[in-house]
């Protein structure tokens, strides 16, 4: 026993027990920062609440993509299938049965999770390009089903007439979009907290293992596919809630909510922000949609070109996304202060 203590003590004295196991997020400050920035934006940009609301709901969707891609290594271009299903489920429930916003979110999450589990069980044996093709196919099928089921979804006209009840029976959705934005921000922050909990759980640890080496997971007695399907389902719940949130805050659901471009755009936003960090999804979404908004207003003819240049710049100079740049900056600031985090 004493020899153990001695050895530990010596090792600790000789080599600094530097926590090289890099933090995958900014520790405890990432999520409060999102909440604070969101509230600051509410005061600073009162005329852009509609845009901010879209950003918050989209960020939750991109977060769902980070769960599957950043923590499970599942390459997908069909995440909008879950978003669209959730949005339609929330809208249909609101129009026909119950327009409480929380009921709508629950309906969206349930529908998104179920469609993800069902399709995930079918397609997740594949990897790489094959899987990419299959996820696109699932998205197309969902979109086509929504198109054909006109009686429920409104087909290509979209599902309109969604009129959510006041939040908790107290806060009406006002014409300035204040309630919408604060509700969306609250749901996003709650989503971040839950996602953080999940990626730090035993389940999250196992999923990271599958991402790195599925065969090694089999060699310690685990089933890589069951982890991936479960993760896909969990992310489907997030995407479905994001879809439901869009239905609540915009009052309309269109076919494009399940479309391929929306899946691809989410991937661009995630890569822009940085994968495998959770808050990278928020940064990427805010950056992409914010710049999109500014450029489209200032130069309606060439804004697409500028977006392209911006993306190329990020990929060239910050391959880990904006979040990796922030982390490096944070590391530079912290090191001179000489703050050693407790190793063991």
């Amino acid at each position: 026993m004493t020899s153990v203590a001695e050895r530990d003590g010596k090792a600790g004295a000789v080599t600094r027990p530097a926590p090289l196991g890099r933090r995958r997020d900014l520790g405890w400050i990432g999520i409060p920062l999102v909440a604070l920035a969101g509230l600051a934006a509410y005061w600073l940009l009162p005329d852009d609440l509609a845009l901010l609301t879209r950003i918050a709901a989209s960020a939750l969707f991109v977060l769902s993509l980070d769960l599957v891609l950043g923590y499970g290594g599942i390459a997908t271009l069909g995440q909008a299938a879950m978003f669209g299903t959730g949005a339609y489920a929330a809208g249909i429930v609101a129009v026909n049965w119950n327009n409480d916003p929380f009921v709508m979110l629950a309906a969206g999450g349930l529908a998104g999770g179920l469609i993800a589990l069902a399709t995930g069980a079918l397609i997740l044996h594949a990897r790489g390009l094959t899987l990419l093709m299959l996820t696109i196919a699932v998205g197309q099928i969902v979109q086509e089903v929504a198109n054909k089921a006109r009686d429920w979804t409104g087909g290509s006209d979209g599902l309109s007439g969604i009129d959510p009840a006041p939040v908790l029976g107290l806060f009406r959705f006002d014409m300035f979009g204040r309630t919408s934005y604060l509700f969306a921000l609250a749901v996003l922050v709650a989503g971040l907290l839950v996602a953080r909990r999940i990626v730090r759980s035993p389940f999250g640890l196992a999923c990271r293992g599958v991402k790195e080496d599925p065969l090694r997971i089999s060699a310690i007695g685990g089933s890589p596919k069951s982890y991936l399907v479960a993760l896909y389902g969990v992310a489907g719940v997030f995407a479905g809630v994001a879809g439901g949130l869009t239905a609540v805050t915009s009052g309309i659901v269109g076919l494009d909510s399940a479309g391929f471009p929306w899946s691809a755009e989410a991937l661009v936003m995630l890569v822009l922000g940085g994968t495998g960090r959770l808050y990278g999804a928020v940064i990427g979404t805010a950056a992409f949609m914010g710049i999109h908004h500014i450029l489209a207003a200032s130069d309606p003819f060439h804004w697409m070109g500028f977006i392209g240049l911006f993306l190329i710049g990020i990929v060239l100079f910050l391959p880990g996304g904006i979040a990796s740049g922030l982390e490096r900056l944070g590391g530079l600031l912290r090191r001179p202060a000489g703050q050693g985090e407790g190793g063991a």
Partner: protein, 251 residues
Amino acid sequence: MTKLLEVEGLSKNFGGLQVSSDITMTLSAGDRCALIGPNGAGKTTFVNLVTGVIPPSAGTIRLDGRDITRLPAAERVRLGLIRSFQVARLFKSMTVREHLELAVLQRDRRTFRPFANVAKVAGLADEVAGLLDAMGLTHAAHTAVGSLAYGQQRLLEIALALAMKPKVLILDEPAAGVPHSESQRILDAIDRLPKDLAVLMIEHDMDLVFRFAKTIVVLAQGRLLCSGTAREIVADPRVREVYLGSRADAH
């Protein structure tokens, strides 16, 4: 002694090519057995057959009395038949500690808990600390495996296997790629394995084999050539023949 692994008449054909034929051997609790043979003798095929990576053409495998011949690889792992890999197969971005946490959680089937906190799972921290100490990896616990020295990666391989609480442990060239000067550390770690464990080591380095093994099994051309104590094997002319070629014919 309880027989932990019983292999009977194990054979494997790939088309007309017989890579393993009629191999029979047993491992009992506490055994320290080395499996040797020249290149192409079918050592890796044998390990793959026993661990369930490939199905056998004929024969039976029993683990602790239970027929596991038809069980999938992951199920055999859950029953206590564990292997380490010849080339360290680890999760590069994860820390040493995370590897062991994952292995212990997986062993206890506690991984499908999306809302638990790894840091607060009962008993986990203590068990991981014990494993780290047993392999002398305590000071490297928070190091990402990608930046770990190769010898330490090999130690982690063994620690991972140990975390699975094996009954039978198959070590596939545990010191491969490690400088000779450091292989002693690996051997020390192997010496500290629980005594009631049956260990089968596949190894080329005869130095290591003689230091580790109480018994040796020799494979040649997919067949079991002979088995016995180290002394018997060294004295056996057939072993010389397969290792040194057919020069023995000149006698």
